[in-house]
Symmetry: C2
Subunit: 459 residues, 2 copies
């Protein structure tokens, strides 16, 4: 990018809101994958008009643009792998409207997910999508990746809460898609085409989100199972009996041992699985369902069920679940975190497969995640500096993905493809389907300037 | 279409499964709009392979293909307005799998919606989308239009229950999109692009649907309000208090009078609105919520609330709601049925607007529908043989749509655009957005052979 172009960027966003200094660029070169790609310029636009002007400039001058929220993505979606401009959307951080009568909100993409949760909850409202990164991730990033989280089993994913969007196309043109109402079916569903498109089709500059009333009460419990199979059968049976918990998380034996080593909290290290179950509703309903669920877990083979009686108790139960990710670093400096999904009845098969892969490769592996959706976070611990580790881990990921697909699953439930899974996408997506997606990309981005190198395998 | 082409069609589906006889063609020339367009051939393929072969032939020989379910669409989606082949999908009517453990079903597009409801309900499962036509409409048609119905307020629309699809492209190629699991975010969301695309992008040949456990109990009540405003405020307030009924239907005063004249059932003809409310859950929860809701309606200004005590009583309450459509024919031989959506707090404004339009045009108008979603069925009664009626009705529709959009609404909540709303689509969809949609159409259907003349306004 030449100096003239940088000056033009400066004129759009102002001198203070862009930089080509290496120390500034370094701050926007990483994401949660741990990879680094230095952009040539970073800019912080404050409005849709500035974003449109930047994109028009990019279109005219032919430079790459990578939009970025908080950089908390797990698959490299916000990494500027071909340089160019990183467009940081954090200044578009206004909650424009929370409409209590119609249960909708209008927000900008740079709003931090947890801030939005707090804002709506103060009004007795509820925005269910809750990715693990919600304390720092932004709503724009959540939409771009179609983020999920532990409440998806009852409430669905980000896609299910997006009614309409405003976006800037790679040409710099602005579009408004979807509706501001509960329903709408006029024309093709460009809203859901943009959601989960990983910032490759347009830059989301505004969104209309659906809200629910905030459940008055939440009850949390853990259920310890001797065998993973029994736990998985219990999950299916619970839902078939008409109880849809808002969360059904699980930890496999490897995760339990790892967390116990880390926290020394008294977890049952010989257990095959621990389920973390949470129900909600009004006080009466939540209490009644919790008791029903506790009894059901016991009748379905749980060795022990612990129902949290206080808020502190509840936090303690979540602590173990949330400690898995950091705890795994006890076993090695690097971690590959996949988010495969299998039919939930197949979770035991997958857990056995992971154990077999661990035995084969000698690498530590653990699985945990959203059992109610069959969405499994498989973690492989390695030292990326060791080429033998890398090779083994890569072979394990291949085997894992192949088995996932053989079970009728998908290689990503909520993290997206980005760069880390682009070379695997052809395992899941057929030739004709991939060609359609590439043509859709070309419709939106004929010059291929927006978030290049993501989703699609390098030809 | 020449004789050689007809013979080729015959070879694909068999002699008994196609026809170019006028009496056969006439049976597939209409839909619920009351319009008629004669196709040149009608064919009844029995499998995806036959559909693919027909589509390959169409692609090679350049003839138009219009897919058709039960022909119950309200906007002309299945009308062969440019002739060619009508492809009737009723023979693909198998429920292939109902997976109780994973709460998913695999079905073919020709399955009648109500048959599917019965099949899953026998197993204690639940498929919520329930368009008014469900006794005869097919799941394929429901998906093509993204059908809604009265349960959408709690359970969402068809889109929310489609996990994956199998379809034949206009080129005759087969695609599989989406997933067989609860979650999935690999590549662009072609599943939801096909849902609601009104049969213009591909022919759906198979689908994977999400199921829920069947609620054990349903409680139904009606609440009579003196003024529409009070009723609308009650709807907002009910949901804000954390009660999400599975249905909140309303009838305006014009609908009440019309139904009473038709049924002579003792409806309160001076009431501004009647709400029909339904809650579900297990027996205890449904009963408790029903009482809460009854009290709430009373405290929010309902003049009378009647809670159904028996199944017969419940059916009687729905009878009035379901009688509106036929009852309206008392006032004239033809009816325009729109399905606008406004923010639910704006329903009273819309009801006032409809009254004003009725006064202006002298045409009988009534509104009713899904108050919980703001989805209003506005019915305009006319005699289509009278050109003055037609002109007035058309002007009223224009005014109605303009006001809908001014209130932040959409011109279709669940019926789609088809041919009846194609000339209005530019009111709602901008130039850039419409150009994107047309380019997406060209990606899927470069020769423009599949369901021509739908959605997009004639240039």
């Amino acid at each position: 990018m030449n100096n003239r172009t940088f000056r033009a960027i400066e004129r759009i966003v102002g001198e203070k809101n862009c930089s080509c200094q290496k120390e500034d660029l370094a701050c926007y070169a990483y994401d949660a994958t741990g990879s680094h790609f230095l952009p040539e310029v970073v800019a912080f636009p404050s409005s849709r008009d500035e974003i449109a002007a930047l994109m028009q400039l990019a279109y005219q001058e032919h430079f790459f643009v990578t939009p970025r929220g908080a950089g908390s993505g797990m698959t490299g979606g916000s990494l500027p792998i071909q340089g160019g401009l990183v467009m940081v959307l954090k200044r578009l951080n206004r909650i424009l409207d929370i409409d209590r009568e119609n249960l909708i909100a209008k927000v900008e993409p740079g709003v931090v997910t947890a801030h939005f949760h707090q804002a709506v909850e103060r009004l007795g409202l509820f925005y269910p999508p809750d990715p693990a990164s919600s304390d720092f991730s932004t709503l724009g990033g959540n939409l771009a990746e179609c983020a999920g989280g532990p409440r998806a089993v009852k409430y669905g994913v980000t896609r299910d809460y997006v009614l309409g969007l405003e976006a800037v196309l790679p040409s710099g043109e602005c579009i408004q898609v979807g509706v501001q109402t509960a329903k709408g079916v006029v024309g093709y569903d460009l809203t859901r085409l943009l959601v989960g498109s990983e910032g490759t089709l347009g830059i989301i500059t505004g969104m209309t989100l659906r809200l629910l009333p905030l459940p008055a009460a939440i009850k949390t419990m853990t259920a310890v199972f001797e065998h993973m199979e029994t736990a998985a059968r219990a999950v299916s049976e619970i839902m078939r009996r008409g109880i849809i918990p808002r969360s059904i998380e699980y930890m496999d034996n490897a995760s339990i041992r790892c967390v116990e080593k880390f926290l020394q909290n008294g977890l049952p290290i010989s257990a095959g699985a621990i389920l973390l179950l949470e129900v909600d509703g009004d006080e009466e309903e939540a209490s009644r369902t919790a008791v029903k669920l506790k009894d059901l877990c016991e009748s379905l083979g749980a060795a022990a069920v612990h129902l949290a009686r206080t808020e502190e108790d509840r936090a303690a139960l979540w602590k173990a679940r949330k400690a898995i990710s950091p705890a795994l670093y006890q076993y090695g400096p690097d971690k590959i975190n996949e988010d495969i999904v299998v039919p939930k009845s197949k979770i035991p098969d997958m857990v056995r497969k992971i154990a077999a892969l661990q035995a084969e490769t000698g690498l530590t592996m653990a699985s945990f995640g959203h059992a109610g959706d069959g969405n499994i976070h498989v973690n492989i611990i390695l030292d990326k500096k060791k080429s033998s580790d890398l090779e083994k881990a890569e072979a394990a990921v291949h085997a894992l993905f192949d088995y996932t697909l053989a079970l009728g699953g998908t290689i990503s439930g909520e993290h997206g493809v980005g760069i880390t899974k682009a070379s695997y996408i052809e395992k899941e997506i057929g030739v004709v389907e991939l060609a359609l997606m590439k043509k859709i990309k070309a419709v939106f981005d004929p010059k291929g300037l927006l978030n290049p190198g993501k989703i699609f395998p390098v030809a």
